[in-house]
């Protein structure tokens, strides 16, 4: 790096273990410094960055975040702490990268900035949560169930008072405690493990898909996962349950990137074993944040020659539930289900549209199924403010973003809002309950499953 003038913080990135050794950008593999320097400050991202659009403040725009990160790296920003607000307020929605001519990966840059600013020691509670999931999945599940039990036992506030949810880091849970569907006592993974159709032994016929249960459907919205599995069975034939670990996104976003790698390795190994037995299965997940992250697994291992191709192969097999079933397969909707859904609209979950470029498929399907009942949502690809743990870490900003979303939903008088992320589901429903209670958000898979369900015989 003799040519450029950067400080020692940059060199630390080269060490890699606690950071991404390099970024896999649209322009090829780049060092963090090269990736961030690709921002030419043209400002186009500011037309789509939710935090900038709401505040008009440069430091909390995508351009500002890139520039501040770069200045930190160049030793021009005093200390990393200067950029704390700028980095912490980023939704990681990725709208900026889509608007950017050079597709500067702001979200990854911000995360690297956070890792630099915070060092390897996780500061946020979600990081602890993530570690708990990695190291003590049993205990994690037990704690979640304890919270659910307390609630069922008529002690709804107790869990909150105990700070249990806060401890678990699922901030929205605390807020949504009264609003979210009752937390299940049986997790999705337990239910699916009990489904014999989802198992396959050695020597079985090849399977088209393996259902990956992201944490949202697994721990909170089991109905989403069940719907996805039903939908996949209905249209893609036989499949299996992945018996997966967390995808690692929580650790990647909020904690220790080494934990994210550990999660990824586990899932990659599982995938390889599945492939061995069942052929080229597609890994279908139904939380867009997770699927988008899994599609970038390779980026975690750019410095590990052994793992890199394996991660790339895994990533190539990942499909979002939004795209897994071809829209052309879903042609007929039941009248009753349509009547129940009412006026349907579609919210582009950030990591589906910006992260994976999925826009067409769910719309096409919903338009075919619902016809005129489907209506476009203004600013449909504007974040809802859920953004993982954002509503917990930045409650005020999150709420301002949410209000714009619910206002847009109300403006088209929608009854049902289909989404692709479970964080969106939680967030938008919390907002709708307050601002526009006649509408509710459902996961796309749930809606599609309901609409295409054959009549009971």
């Amino acid at each position: 790096m003799s040519k450029y003038d950067v400080n020692e913080m940059y060199d630390r990135h080269a060490e890699g273990e606690l950071h991404l050794p390099s970024l896999l950008t649209h322009l090829g593999e780049r060092s963090l410094y090269d990736a961030v320097s690709q921002c030419s400050r043209c400002g186009y991202c500011e037309t789509v960055c939710p935090t900038y659009m709401l505040t008009g403040r440069e430091p909390i725009s995508a351009r500002g975040r890139n520039q501040l990160t770069r200045m930190i790296m160049e030793g021009k920003a005093g200390g990393a702490g200067a950029a704390a607000e700028s980095l912490d307020t980023c939704l990681l929605c990725g709208a900026c990268s889509e608007a950017c001519f050079a597709k500067v990966p702001t979200a990854d840059i911000v995360l690297e900035g956070r890792r630099s600013a915070l060092g390897p020691a996780p500061r946020l509670i979600p990081a602890l949560l993530s570690r708990l999931m990695l190291e003590r999945p049993g205990l994690f599940g037990f704690l979640l169930k304890l919270g659910a039990l307390a609630r069922r036992a008529g002690l709804p506030r107790l869990a909150g008072k105990l700070g249990l949810f806060r401890l678990l880091g699922l901030g929205p849970l605390e807020k949504a405690e009264r609003e979210a569907p009752a937390m299940p006592l049986t997790f999705l993974s337990e239910k699916l493990a009990a489904d014999p159709e989802l198992e396959a032994g050695a020597g079985d016929e090849p399977r088209a898909w393996a259902y990956f249960a992201p944490c949202g459907p697994n721990y909170l919205f089991t109905g989403v996962g069940e719907a996805t599995v039903a939908l996949l069975k209905r249209f893609l034939g036989k499949g299996v349950f992945f018996h997966n670990s967390c995808c690692g996104l929580l650790a990647y976003n909020y904690g220790d990137i080494r934990h994210a790698r550990d999660f990824a390795r586990r899932n990659i190994e599982k995938y390889e074993a599945l492939r061995e037995r069942l052929g080229d299965v597609k890994i279908v997940g139904d939380c867009s944040s997770c699927t988008a992250f899994m599609k970038t697994y390779e980026q975690l291992f750019t410095a590990e020659p052994e793992w890199r191709p394996r991660a790339a192969a895994f990533a190539a097999a990942v499909r979002d539930a939004l795209e897994a079933v071809p829209p052309s397969a879903m042609t007929h909707a039941s009248k009753e289900a349509l009547a129940e859904a009412g006026r349907i609209t579609y919210h582009d979950s950030c990591r589906a549209c910006h992260g994976q470029g999925i826009r067409k498929e769910p719309r096409e399907a919903l338009r075919t199924l619902a016809g005129k009942r489907f209506t476009e949502l203004p600013e449909s690809d504007w974040c809802c403010g859920g953004a993982g743990a954002y509503s917990f870490t930045q409650p005020e900003m999150s709420d301002r973003i949410l209000r714009r979303k619910t206002a847009n939903i109300a403006s088209v008088r929608a009854d049902t809002v289909a989404v692709g992320g479970t964080s969106c589901l939680l967030q938008i429903n919390a907002g709708l309950k307050r601002d526009y209670p006649s509408a509710k958000a459902v996961h796309y898979a749930q809606l599609a499953e309901k609409l295409t369900r054959p009549p009971a015989k």
Binding site: K3, Y4, G43, Y44, L68
Partner: protein, 674 residues
């Protein structure tokens, strides 16, 4: 130099006016407002987010009183360092002022706040079937306030004019914090013309009244490829000479085309230049006829390929190559320097060749994009600003390109402004006389030098001299006039500027001063038919002007008026003259001759004193010659103009201050400011 400790007590006051939550002094905010889309850097001391237009005036009054430098900032997308706080101080972040106040389709007026994004306005207007012509390439992000600050153009300005042609009026907060309502309809010197393009150095626009037009019923687009830039420009010249004014006439060279991957056009391998032509109008038949003409011009110029698109999807496909060029270049390297020069249109091929030579000399890669209809060229030079050696080469090449534009009779900025990055080049374009005049204008409106200080006008090195001879040597009449002015100035003798005596009425006797007869200045200096411009001495009777042009198959698109050209400009008897006028030669009362503007339609190098002089009533200076835009004979629109009775002009405070910048001793037409 402004020192930070001077902000101390002001900070609390700023919070009181702007709101506690709207004043930022943290390191991140300071850093984030130390850059814009250009490459200059300087730190402000505080950033104030302004959430109501009415807060601007009190904020500016406060800062003025405290002696704190300030500047307005919106999207921060300008390419000349215009929003960099060179002396520190306070950034007034006006981006929250993003409301469209009204859209009046009956009157053809939209009233907007400065933070309205250009494209957002277009989208709102389109719902009502209207549009606002200026369409800079960055219209998705740039704001109306920024467009006003830079006098932005865009492809459509060929037909519809630049920002200054499309703003009807402004509400401006002066550097002292007074609020002014100014309009192009006001009597007296044209203040909107001066404020537009002044880059925040003369005041801050808080509302703008914009001219809006009904969307044309039909748009037709064609793409045409040529084996050379020269050939492409031949087709352009033939089109313009035929009196066809396309809504867009864009050109790009091979490098840009290749960068954009050909835009899916699959053009001939011999293609070295591509032309995109777009016509609009309400008669489909007229457009078909014009397009057929253009097709034959292109064929005569040696076109390799000519494709038309009538429907929207096909149009978008044709535009993909042009619109994809910059993004593609932006992917090739971290930085793109979008240079901005303008030359008289017929000189574009030469300019392109010069630019290519310079780029080769400096071993740089660039795509060339042209607004071919108006002589504006944008070499897009790709580089990595972290590579200091390469960056130095880019700067030097940029400077040489600007010098080449000047040598070809052009200017250093067509639409991006001067800011700080082209300040140096102002020395090459202007003589000391003009630069000093710019400084005096700035000083007149901002005596404390607080509003975006150190921009536009060079702060040092004002020694460069233009190579060409002083105009006074042109004719004996001119040199006599200049020496008479010098003599009168030395002796304090006041003058009454007199042409044919058609319009200006003056009191009799002592108060009016001694007659200064300019009717001897009546030569035709240049009829530049390829460029559709002509330069006349100011005393030429309009009748003579018309017949001179007619014999050359040309016409000035203005009503048939009497009197002299200079008189028309000085009295604004037909207000449309402000939009025809490209350049002026002006004698100041002390005989100093200033050359303002030029021969290109787009020119944002320095304050637009050319427009300001419209309606100046001879009291700011003696207009010696003027360059105006023409059209082919018979192609001018019909004018139904009845000359208004000369309204009594009562100078405002701003007019008086400007008078002192031009004529501190009130020597010219003294009764007007008496």
């Amino acid at each position: 130099m402004f020192r930070k400790d001077r902000l101390g007590g002001t900070l609390e006051e700023l919070k009181r006016i702007a709101g506690e939550d709207n004043v930022f002094t943290g390191e991140a905010d300071i850093l984030a407002y130390s850059y814009d889309a250009g490459s200059a850097r300087a730190r402000p001391d505080a950033v104030v987010r302004v959430d109501a237009a009415e807060k601007v005036a009190p904020l500016v009054r406060l800062l003025h009183g405290a002696g704190v430098p300030f500047l307005p900032r919106l999207a921060g997308t300008n390419l000349s360092g215009g929003t960099i706080p060179l002396k520190g101080g306070v950034i007034l972040n006006l981006s929250p002022l993003n409301k469209i106040r009204s859209i009046d389709t009956a009157a053809g007026v939209a009233v907007v706040e400065p933070g309205v994004v250009n494209l957002k306005l277009q989208e709102e207007l389109a719902r009502a079937g209207f549009f606002y012509p200026p369409d800079p390439a960055s219209q998705r992000v740039c704001t109306i306030g920024g467009n006003i600050g830079e006098n932005a153009g865009g492809p459509l300005c060929l037909k519809y004019g630049v920002t200054a042609d499309n703003v009807l009026g402004l509400t401006v907060v002066t550097p002292q914090g007074e609020t002014l309502e100014i309009s192009t309809q006001d009597a007296g010197p044209d203040l909107p013309g001066l404020f537009i393009g002044s880059e925040g150095t003369l005041g801050i626009a808080i509302y703008a009244r914009l001219k809006i037009l009904p969307l044309p019923k039909h748009i037709m687009t064609a793409v045409c490829s040529f084996p050379s830039v020269d050939d492409a420009m031949k087709a352009v010249a033939a089109t313009i000479a035929a009196g066809i004014v396309p809504r867009a006439l864009e050109a790009m060279d091979r490098v840009s085309l290749d960068a954009a991957g050909g835009g899916g056009l699959k053009l001939s391998d011999r293609t070295e230049a591509v032309l995109i032509i777009e016509l609009d109008g309400n008669s489909r038949r007229d457009l078909d006829r014009e397009m057929a003409e253009i097709r034959s011009f292109a064929a005569a110029a040696g076109s390799l390929d000519f494709r038309e698109a009538a429907d929207n999807a096909a149009r978008e496909a044709l535009w993909a190559a042009r619109k994809g060029a910059y993004p593609a270049l932006a992917r090739l390297a971290p930085n793109v320097m979008v240079e901005d020069g303008a030359v008289p249109r017929p000189r574009l091929p030469q300019a392109a060749a010069e630019v290519r030579r310079i780029l080769a000399d400096y071993k740089l890669t660039a795509g060339l994009l042209f607004h071919a209809g108006d002589g504006n060229l944008h070499p897009n030079v790709i580089y990595d600003e972290r590579d200091l050696e390469e960056t130095r080469r880019v700067r030097k090449a940029g400077h040489e390109i600007l010098r080449a534009c000047i040598d070809l009779g052009g200017t250093i900025s067509g639409e991006h402004g001067v800011g700080v990055e082209k300040r140096l080049a102002m020395n090459w374009l202007y003589d000391r006389a003009e630069l000093d005049l710019f400084s005096r204008v700035k000083e007149a409106l901002d005596p404390k030098d607080l509003a975006n200080p150190d921009k536009i006008v060079p702060v040092s090195d004002r020694h460069a001299r233009r190579k060409d001879a002083a105009p006074a040597a042109r004719s004996s009449a001119l040199s006599a006039l200049v020496s008479e002015l010098k003599y009168r100035a030395a002796h304090g003798i006041k003058s009454r500027v007199k042409g044919l005596g058609t319009r200006l009425s003056s009191p009799e006797g002592e108060a009016a001063g001694r007659d200064l007869d300019v009717s001897g200045l009546r030569s035709v200096l240049e009829i530049y038919d390829d460029n559709l411009t002509a330069t006349f001495e100011a005393g030429i009777p309009l009748r003579t002007l018309r017949s001179e042009l007619k014999s050359g198959g040309l016409e000035a698109p203005m009503p048939k008026l009497d009197g002299t050209l200079g008189g028309l400009i000085a009295t604004k008897a037909w207000p449309g003259i402000r939009d025809l006028l490209l350049g002026l030669e002006l004698a100041l009362p002390d005989g100093t001759v200033c050359r303002l503007g030029g021969k290109s339609v787009k020119n944002v190098a320095g304050y637009d004193l050319t427009r300001l002089l419209c309606g100046s009533l001879g009291a700011y200076g003696v207009i010696l010659s003027a360059t105006i835009r023409l059209c082919p004979a018979g192609k001018a629109p019909r004018f139904h103009h009845t000359e208004p009775r000369a309204a009594g002009f009562v100078p405002s405070d701003v007019h008086r201050r400007l008078k002192r910048a031009f004529d501190p001793d009130n020597l010219l037409n003294p009764w007007i400011y008496g």
